[in-house]
Assembly symmetry: C2
Homo-oligomer: 559 residues x 2
């Protein structure tokens, strides 16, 4: 068993090689010791087309690499020891930035514990080249986390791809290394899987290796849509070829005959085992609301193709080995030609899951999930903005809209700030708008209500008031009862009725879901508040009950 | 006549509008005064679909803009006054960065003279949002330079385009404004031309407005090639449709039957007037070595299409109104279908220019230009690296290679540093390599010679030694005789022979061009030095003589 430094550096060197790095210009130094030695071993024993060039003067090392990269039009790595040595790359990096040459500056560094306290040959090497590099990343090599190795494979390959992607340009990879620096030589080299990137016209020929898998069991995963240009085409292709669609609540394809909803609950309850496991999942859009779906894909070893120019390399589960840097529409057009007939019954079996979820979570009493179920009746052309963080999860699992309702949320960075203001932006110029929000997110952006009032938007603010942060009750800290309410529950004793009064808006407290049904059918002119008071403990119990029922339902689905 | 502030802000507002900005969220403040007032006037009197939204709380202003931008999928501007007000945009900018929303944060600022010396409401607003914005730019509004206005049109439109280009994301435009801040209201609004951007599949339909121009007189400008994937196709299209190609020395299409060389000299001598002016120029590659060609295009009001993903928006002459964000090969394929027959004789007339240049600059005596002429005999498969800054200009104008020689230089940032090392990088694994370099650039990168020696590359180093910086003799400072040699000529009294001895390389001083002819036919094994000693004053005189002869030749070409 080789040490972490050796193993991770081997992944690092092989990841560079996997994305086309065949030349490295090394300047001698001490901090570079393990990298230089392993690179030499790699070139001597693993891949003999890997060429190592030595250059004592780092300024010239940079330009030598530039000369190779620009004339052969390949990515070239540089390797220098810590301190001013690395700064000497700056002129060549600057030229590479302007002339679009994919130089990879690998700068070894002192570890964190030696930074900024007078250690020799130590300076701030992070973001050393400012805007002259397309990306500056620091990667840890000495770590016992298994994630580290996998992250190196994925992120380093992504970075080299980025350097070559037009407009091309240099990148910096900073490697803090602590002593002892000697690697283990002569040990076995691990296998590093190559991430396949396809760009522009090239993707119109979908990778051959995938075509064979197309014949098996293909599923679409339609994540949060940051563009609404492709959903109709996606649905048409899915329907034409009988592919199930795992629909994120923000994916803009609910309702649809092929839609699977509640995947997070299906997985958590174990009920997902009742359905045939897909062989290939094609991912559209951003990171899905359901964290479990990516874990499930990884655990089941399902192949993943990631599509879309906004999302290349943005799979934090590090599973997607096929990264298609093309528009969704271009991919769907090609895919439509390439996909083969699916396993008989594949779609039909999955379709039953939607009914299982719907029946298990049949009309509920007045509760968090009960409200979500009732909101399925929103009329067509409604826009629904869903707040983080408890609300969005419930809607993702249990909201099966009957009509074409567009659903939005701030799921880039998942903050609870600015929710009312963002929903107001959504509502501008649109007739029927709803905001589903908890009391804490509402309080956080009270000022946003002034915008909604002044802009005179039609906005139904549906507040689930459980007096505090509901999601924390599902997390391990809920066990720390002495501190929980103070640090996490944070009840604000907020009066939604008085907030409504502050903004001269009508207010209704719902005590029966039938009241909500009626309000859903008579959307607001202007700003309107609807409050449902729930209990955080009961909410946890209700969710557990639903999961238990789903787990029971597993057996039925297998029948 | 309205003042600069008013005029430039009108260009700013209209440039945003031209690229699709129909919403701005304004937070009240003092420093924003002229921008807010003019935006309001614009919305009221010029483009009534421009919508202004007010938001007192800047954090919510950011999220309101985010809500509009993400749901309507359009770029949205924010406008805030200087100080912490602008910092409140940070949460919405961060969300926009991760969820790929094109927010345009316009932050007004105190002018330079109030920075960092205790002025109120003043903080460092440049690069306020770090890597969360795709671009952070500061644009001056109060300037009397006509360039300012044109730069606003061009750079602001480019920035908005960048924000929307996938992966989309926010940008920051910082506007330092000094008092008085009141704009002139009620004055006429200038016309701002829209820059047309075309992306991906869209470009396959070349803009209709250009098709008509295709019928006229089209020319290719093949600038420095940062990719050698398209030159064969470019030449085939040019030959098929009888289009002249203005060939930059680094464009990798010399020699070619349609090639025009020496455009810089043709323009400077006035000789270019003898040839029919093109109506449309399609630009490939980077900024051409010839500065005059871009000035000529601008002066003659020639339409310009700029092609290539590395170069969208990178026309510092600010002429190219059509920016095609596609691969060169995709464009050429579409163009090949679209281009109409050319004006009779258009190509043929331009072709005579190459002969005019060749004959006017017939074989010269031993001199800078004489050497360039002699180097035309380099055999096929040679790689030639050309140093900045005098050498590259001479080769651009007067080098008409007889065989397919690939020519390279560092023309991204045009430095004289690292030339030998870069040339060594080029030479690795290639049989026949030449480096054309002056004595000053050679001295600057003496250490690069160690790399060439150690790598055992075949590299002929052809040194034009005029003991100092030759290009400065062509610039106005040459008149400042008391200081010129010390500050600009900088003679180093370098012995090229001793440098050769240091690296154990053969050395020849050329005293007759026939010697060079012979050496060109017998390229080096390993490193070899060839020195030509010239005189800076004589060099200036020779260049002037050539231009005078070309000016005379104008009459012949007209005959």
């Amino acid at each position: 068993m080789q040490n972490d430094l050796t193993l991770n550096l081997k992944h690092f060197i092989q990841s560079l090689y996997a994305q086309g790095v065949r030349h490295v210009v090394i300047s001698p130094g001490s901090r570079t010791t393990p990298v230089a030695l392993l690179w030499a071993e790699f070139a001597a024993t693993v891949q003999t087309d890997m060429q190592i060039h030595m250059a004592v003067d780092e300024r010239d090392a940079g330009f030598l690499g530039l000369g190779i990269a620009k004339t052969q039009q390949v990515p070239v790595a540089l390797l220098a020891t810590s301190g001013t040595a690395t700064v000497n790359y700056a002129p060549a990096i600057a030229e590479a930035a302007v002339s679009h040459v994919p130089l990879i500056a690998v700068t070894t560094d002192r570890p964190e514990e030696l930074q900024g306290i007078g250690a020799p040959q130590t300076l701030d090497q992070q973001a050393l080249f400012g805007t002259h590099v397309k990306k500056a990343m620091t990667v840890t090599m000495q770590s016992t986390t298994p994630d580290t190795t996998e992250y190196i494979d994925y992120a380093v390959q992504d970075a080299v791809h980025l350097a070559g992607q037009q407009p091309a340009g240099p990148i910096q990879i900073n490697l803090p290394l602590r002593k002892p620096l000697m690697p283990e030589l002569g040990a076995v080299w691990p296998n590093v899987e190559t991430v396949q990137y396809a760009e522009a016209e090239a993707v119109l020929e979908v990778p051959e290796s995938l075509r064979t898998q197309f014949a098996e069991a293909v599923m679409f995963l339609d994540g949060p849509a940051e563009s609404t240009t492709y959903q109709k085409q996606l649905q048409a292709v899915a329907e034409r070829h009988a592919l199930p669609i795992l629909t994120d609540v923000l994916g803009q394809v609910r309702p649809n005959a092929n839609a699977i909803t509640g995947i997070d609950a299906l997985i958590e309850s174990g009920c997902v085992k009742a359905y045939p496991t897909p062989r290939l999942i094609v991912r559209f859009g951003g990171t899905p609301v359901s964290a479990k779906v990516l874990q499930w894909i990884k655990a089941e070893n399902i192949s993943v193709v990631q599509v879309g120019k906004n999302f290349v390399g943005r799979d934090h589960s590090r599973v997607a080995r096929y990264q298609l840097d093309v528009t969704e529409t271009a991919f769907l057009m090609a895919f439509d030609q390439a996909v083969a007939p699916q396993m008989p019954g594949f779609l039909e079996q999955w379709q039953t899951s939607r009914e299982v979820v719907a029946q298990t979570v049949a009309r509920q009493s007045l509760s968090d999930v009960g409200v979500v179920k009732a909101m399925a009746c929103l009329p067509a052309e409604t826009q629904l903005f869903i707040a983080n963080s408890m609300a969005i999860r419930d809607y993702d699992n249990y909201w099966q809209p009957q009509h074409a309702v567009t659903a939005w949320a701030n799921r880039g960075a998942n903050g609870i700030d600015g929710t009312v203001a963002t929903a107001t932006g959504m509502a501008l110029g649109h007739a029927n708008n709803w905001l589903a929000i908890g009391d804490l997110a509402l309080f956080h952006d009270m000022n946003g209500l002034m915008l909604a009032k002044q802009a005179q938007v039609n906005l139904n603010v549906l507040v689930i008031n459980n007096d505090g942060g509901g999601i924390f009750s599902f997390l391990p800290q809920a066990q720390a009862q002495d501190y929980f309410e103070t640090l996490f529950g944070t009840p604000q004793a907020l009066s939604v009725e008085k907030i409504a009064a502050l903004y001269d808006a009508p207010y209704t407290q719902i005590t029966d879901l039938a009241q909500l049904d009626a309000l859903v059918q008579t959307p607001a002119k202007g700003l309107r508040f609807i409050e449902v008071i729930t209990d955080r403990s009961e909410n946890v119990a209700q969710h557990q009950m639903i999961l238990a029922a789903l787990a029971g339902g597993t057996i039925d689905a297998n029948d």
